[in-house]
């Protein structure tokens, strides 16, 4: 299902590729071609670092169709260090309680698997707690 749509999003899903506005320097993710800050065209690609902190979060047990096998899972708004918020699942929590302000970093993980064994596997970004110590 919807293979072209997932394929089109590969840059964003695998590498957090957004845009930077050449006019006002705003960093944009997801990419949207028209800068919401200054209203001018913004098509310059910009790859985000993947580092940020938890802006808000919740735990889901009733998952939408296609995500049931992953339930329960934790989802969040992550404030990227370059500015934008991004909506994503948190992963590798290992029982660690989530808090607003918790530093997290982007990892690539399987998001969903459609139509059983014969369907496509959708990979994309999730965020995990930043490991302690210098990196």
């Amino acid at each position: 299902m919807e293979v072209p749509r997932h394929w089109r999003l590969r840059q964003q899903r695998y590498a957090l590729v957004g845009e930077v506005c050449p006019h006002c320097d705003a960093k944009l993710f997801p990419p949207r071609d028209v800068c919401p800050h200054c209203g001018q065209e913004a098509r310059t690609r910009f790859t985000f670092s993947g580092r940020g902190e938890v802006y808000s979060y919740t735990h889901m047990s009733d998952a939408p169709a296609g995500f049931e096998q992953n339930a329960p899972y934790t989802v969040a708004l992550v404030k990227l260090e370059e500015g934008p918020l991004v909506t994503a699942q948190l992963t590798d929590l290992d029982g660690k309680p989530v808090e607003i302000g918790m530093p997290v970093e982007m990892v690539t993980r399987r998001i969903r698997s459609d139509d059983g064994e014969k369907g496509i596997l959708v990979y994309g970004y999730k965020f995990r707690p930043v490991l302690a110590g210098p990196r």
């Binding site: 999003l9 964003q12 808000s56 009733d62 989802v75 969040a76 991004v86 909506t87």
Partner: protein, 384 residues
């Protein structure tokens, strides 16, 4: 633009209507509104609905509903603006009548949710959000609202218990609404003990789904000569949009589209928040009730729960909300909800709300929120 009046109203009860189809529900509400208006036909039918394509495998509701109610050959379309689909239909019908393109129109909101299993409905509701960047990450619509509520509590220092009055008020008021989904009052303790859905949103913060339809008949006010009931006009009508995704907003804790549509509706009606006698807001989740009150000028930013705690939202308060149960207890048949709000305000302005009657109600406001705040329609109705 001509002034437009609401001549007739009709609604079905909100329930799991296993024995009734989408067309039967819509038909019941439309025919009741025509009977109330003492009309046999209208020039146009506007059907508000969000999810019939996925939930009922039926699109093309304009022709379907028009034919079903005996109005074959009239102009008819369906409007979609997620949870604001119902009042989007009303606004389209109002514009048609106000402009002179039509001499009369019916607006009906309808949603038939019980035919599809839970996870499919959860997915269908999530289509109101950004498919590529919200729903594809596995978020449900409840989860998106939970993200807003948690950040709101963190920013303004509220506890979960502080939101209890929204739910308590809605359930207390629904007891007096025969069309409501629930007729059981709840207590503060019952609110706190309800099972968690997506923390901090528990079952008593969230509105129930259901099947239902509600409709009104609109005509130019100038054509009404004699009527036993008070004349109810659409004094203000406005809609505004914001980003589909919460993460794209300037401030995720502020409903810009609510503020914009409310200020335009106030200006059109020549009134301000202090003139509104009752407010049917979009309490799909208790956090949305707080944000709506703030955006429309009834509470300071971050202080919606305080207004509720001080009793300002109760029937005898400064700005009664959810006077017949609201989304929380009347129920939230998504695309029908906006029209239930309008029908209930007309009942209040006519003095027909029974034990739920707000004394002396002359001006009522509705606000219908599509998505997590992405498309917001505000109407102001006046009795004269």
């Amino acid at each position: 633009m001509r002034e437009v009046a609401v001549l007739g109203i009709g609604q079905t009860s909100i329930d799991e209507h296993w024995e009734k189809s989408l067309r039967e529900l819509a038909g019941e509400a439309v025919l009741a509104s025509l009977q109330d208006a003492r009309r046999e036909s209208v020039d146009g039918v506007f059907v508000g609905n969000m999810m019939s394509g996925s939930a009922n495998h039926q699109q093309h509701l304009g022709a379907l509903v028009a034919d079903w109610v005996g109005l074959r050959f009239v102009e008819a379309i369906r409007t979609e603006a997620a949870c604001a689909s119902g009042s989007a239909a009303l606004r389209a019908a109002m514009i048609a009548v106000a402009s002179g393109a039509m001499e009369s129109a019916v607006a009906v909101g309808v949603e038939k949710m019980s035919d599809s299993p839970g996870p499919e409905i959860t997915s269908a509701l999530a289509t109101a959000a950004d498919a590529d960047y919200e729903a594809d990450q596995g978020l449900s619509f409840v989860a998106l609202n939970a993200l807003i509520m948690r950040r709101y509590m963190y920013t303004y220092g509220w506890k979960h218990a502080d939101f209890a009055p929204f739910s308590i008020n809605a359930h207390a008021n629904a007891v007096n609404n025969p069309y409501a989904r629930f007729h059981e009052p709840i207590t503060a303790d019952g609110y706190l003990r309800a099972s968690m859905i997506c923390d901090p949103i528990n079952l008593m913060d969230a509105s129930p789904m259901g099947d239902g339809a509600a409709a009104v008949v609109l005509v130019p006010a100038e054509t009404i000569r004699f009527q036993a009931k008070p004349l109810i006009t659409l004094a203000g009508s406005a809609a505004a949009t914001d980003t589909l995704a919460i993460h794209d907003r300037v401030d995720p804790l502020w409903l810009s589209a609510a503020a914009a549509s409310a200020s335009r509706a106030y200006a059109m009606a020549g009134v301000g928040p202090e003139d509104i006698d009752l407010f049917e807001l979009h309490d799909a989740f208790s956090i949305m009730a707080a944000l709506s009150l703030e955006a429309c000028g009834f509470a300071e930013r971050g202080q919606g729960p305080r207004l509720a705690q001080e009793g300002g939202i109760f029937p005898t308060g400064r700005i009664p909300i959810a006077t017949l149960g609201g989304l929380k207890a009347r129920g939230h048949p998504v695309g029908a909800t906006g029209m239930y709000q309008i029908v209930e305000i007309v009942e209040q302005l006519r003095g027909q709300a029974g034990k739920a009657q707000i004394d002396g109600a002359r001006v009522g406001m509705s606000q219908n929120i599509g998505g997590s705040g992405s498309n917001i329609v505000t109407h102001i109705l006046r009795a004269s």
